[in-house]
């Protein structure tokens, strides 16, 4: 076999996924924050702990909950393994989300990296589906009702919603068929997709000649940054440290905090409040403020659509590898985030206690009063925001779009936090210390 690189011996295939040489400035921790590698470590951890759990878990409505109890009580380190799997899954959503933000804010999604952006979106979807399907498996009160309301959201998707809902649930009530579906997706379908997409994802980075990094101006005196160094030991040692840190954090979490387990699922008794898993609680919070058609269909649909279409944004200047495009972009980002941090909570509180469009406009259908009108108002607001930011900072279009993106992102984070920590009994607003 012909070696792929003079210094390599027999690692030809591995070099398709992991580079033999790496640019020096990519090694800087704050350039990537090691997020992609962390995600890989967590996926591998999930596979190891997941296989262990598979030996104990029984995917039938009668046996599922008792098997979790047995796991926690009778199996050696059973509780720890379940905690690792639970926190690992949640941690993974978190890491993958930040990884996506990193890729977005360093502009690593266009030209040659276009396909990899889409693969990344696919991987993100896999992680979300995996978490969502895994959520049901213990079949306790928490998971049963969270899945009930999440699958209930499908009903508001026009035309195909009820069909999709029936297919996912496998009937009209969460039961045996739902558990079979979710189990199959969780332990077979999603891992299979990950196994195909992940190597593809890594190979695409190699095709793009490595992680994105700023191109230095020609004839710049300091060209040390683009100098290539050997991956072993320079990159591999860093990856190993990151992996160990991630594993340490995960173990620490799992030793300190138990994965939640409520009573056995009781279809006759909805707990108060019933909340979606935290990564969907932003969506659930949207439901508190908008007509379901808008909250569950229009907003998510256009969010996903714009993420898919992102690589087609026409660029005024090639911005690759620089965080937030430029110093100005970063400043605009801070301003947008600060504005969103004030406006979003204010709007949530106003909508909860004061504004009620459907009362102001009696006779207007709910879709218009709670859906179209607020959305149109918000769109006008966003357009104004974009124009003002762009003019005020004399910014390029990309910097303006980025400011809007950051604004919406912070709003979404605020919605999620509100849903998780500020919603109590009957989903009324409350303080975190008053929960439960």
């Amino acid at each position: 076999m012909k070696p792929a690189h003079p210094n390599s011996k027999n690692r030809g295939f591995l070099y398709h996924l992991h580079p033999p040489l790496v640019s020096q400035n990519v090694l800087k921790f704050t350039h990537t924050w090691g997020l992609g590698g962390s995600a890989l470590v967590l996926v591998l951890m999930q596979i190891v702990t997941g296989v262990l759990l598979l030996f104990v878990y029984s995917p039938t409505p009668e046996a599922a909950y008792p098997s979790i109890i047995a796991l926690q009580q009778d199996v050696l380190f059973g509780k720890l393994i379940r905690n690792l799997h639970h926190w690992g899954g949640n941690f993974l959503v978190f890491i993958v989300f930040f990884h996506m933000l990193r890729v977005f804010f360093t502009g690593a999604y266009n030209n040659i990296r276009k396909v990899n952006w889409w693969i990344g979106l696919g991987l993100f979807l896999c992680v979300l589906i995996s978490n969502f399907t895994g959520y049901l498996l213990p079949l306790d009160q928490l998971s049963y009702w969270a899945i009930t309301i999440c699958t209930g959201m499908f009903e508001y998707i026009p035309l195909i919603g009820t069909v999709i809902q029936k297919i996912i649930i496998g009937g009209t009530e969460i039961g045996k068929a739902t558990l079979s579906n979710f189990f199959a997706i969780h332990v077979a379908l999603v891992p299979m997709c990950l196994a195909i997409l992940m190597p593809f994802h890594f190979w695409q980075i190699r095709k793009a000649k490595g992680v994105i990094c700023p191109v230095p101006p020609p004839n710049s005196p300091d060209d040390a940054g683009v100098q290539k160094v050997k991956s072993v030991p320079h990159l591999v040692s860093r990856e190993a440290v990151m992996a160990l840190v991630i594993i340490a954090i995960l173990f620490l979490l799992s030793v300190l905090f138990n994965a939640p387990l409520a009573d056995k699922a009781n279809p006759g008794l909805s707990p108060n409040p019933t909340k979606a898993p935290w990564y969907f609680s932003g969506l659930q919070e949207l439901l508190q403020h908008f007509h379901p058609l808008i909250a569950v269909f229009v907003i998510p649909f256009f969010t996903v659509l714009s993420l898919i279409c992102l690589p087609y944004l026409k660029f005024e200047k090639a911005a690759g590898g620089l965080w937030f495009l430029s110093k100005k972009g970063r400043r605009m980002g801070f301003v947008s985030a600060a504005i969103a941090l004030v406006i979003a909570p204010v709007l949530i509180v106003l909508d909860e206690y004061i504004i009620n469009i459907s009362v102001l406009l009696p006779g207007v259908p709910a879709v218009v009063a709670d859906g179209v009108i607020p959305v149109v108002l918000l769109m006008f607001f966003m357009m104004g925001f974009y124009k003002i930011m762009k003019n005020k900072f004399v910014a390029s279009r990309e910097e303006g779009v980025q400011a809007v993106f950051i604004f919406l992102l912070v709003c979404f984070v605020v919605l999620t936090i509100t849903g998780v920590w500020f919603r109590g009994a009957g989903m009324a607003l409350t303080w975190p210390w008053n929960l439960k």
Binding site: W145, T148, I149, I167, P267, L287, P292
Partner: protein, 188 residues
């Protein structure tokens, strides 16, 4: 120089050449046709195979009917004699997952216990005489009509039949409705 058509043999030769050329062209054409046909056949077969696979997958994903037979027997639930239910009362039937309502005018309704908002189970709060959903605080009155959103429509109904004074509910037929109408109430 040989003039065209001037000599018989030349003509014959020329004719032959034309014939062979024609044959070659024709055979090339027929090969092309054959290949094109086979290619189309492959594509067609591929599409058929894909459709078959999609069909199989759809069949696997279709809501399972394992309990269907058992359910037909247990679908119609006998609630009891109509005299047993007081006016203005709500009786929960766990097995059929519905509430039997006896309105103050003596009319009967069977309401699904599933909230029309996101599918939580709605309890009857006797002290307030209302159905209050614990998940997102939708409120319904005794007839299932929405008192307070976010629920978008009244509670779904099941078919109520009164035969010889005995109230029966068909839990197989759930009806969605947009408003409360008197036609939804069944009288003795």
């Amino acid at each position: 120089m040989v003039s065209r058509g001037g000599d018989g043999t030349d003509l014959a030769v020329e004719f032959k050449i034309i014939m062979t050329k024609d044959k070659k062209e024709k055979s090339a054409q027929s090969v092309e046709n054959r290949r094109g046909f086979l290619k189309k056949l492959w594509i067609g077969l591929g599409i058929v195979a894909l459709v078959e696979m999609a069909g199989v997958i759809a069949a696997y994903l279709r809501p399972k009917k394992q309990k269907a037979d058992a359910e037909i027997l247990g679908r119609i639930i006998t609630a009891g004699s109509a005299d047993n239910f007081e006016k203005d009362s709500v009786t929960a039937f766990r097995r059929g997952q519905f509430y039997l309502i006896c309105l103050d005018d003596g009319g009967f309704m069977a309401l699904s216990r599933k909230c029309t908002h996101l599918g939580c189970t709605v309890p009857w709060v006797a002290s307030e005489k209302k159905f209050i959903c614990p998940c997102h605080s939708s409120v319904f009155d005794i007839s299932g009509a929405v008192v307070q959103s976010p629920a978008p429509r009244p509670l779904d109904t099941f078919l109520v039949m009164i035969e010889n004074g005995i109230v029966k509910v068909d839990t197989g037929k759930k009806t969605k409705r947009s408003t409360f109408e008197s036609s939804q109430v069944v009288y003795l």
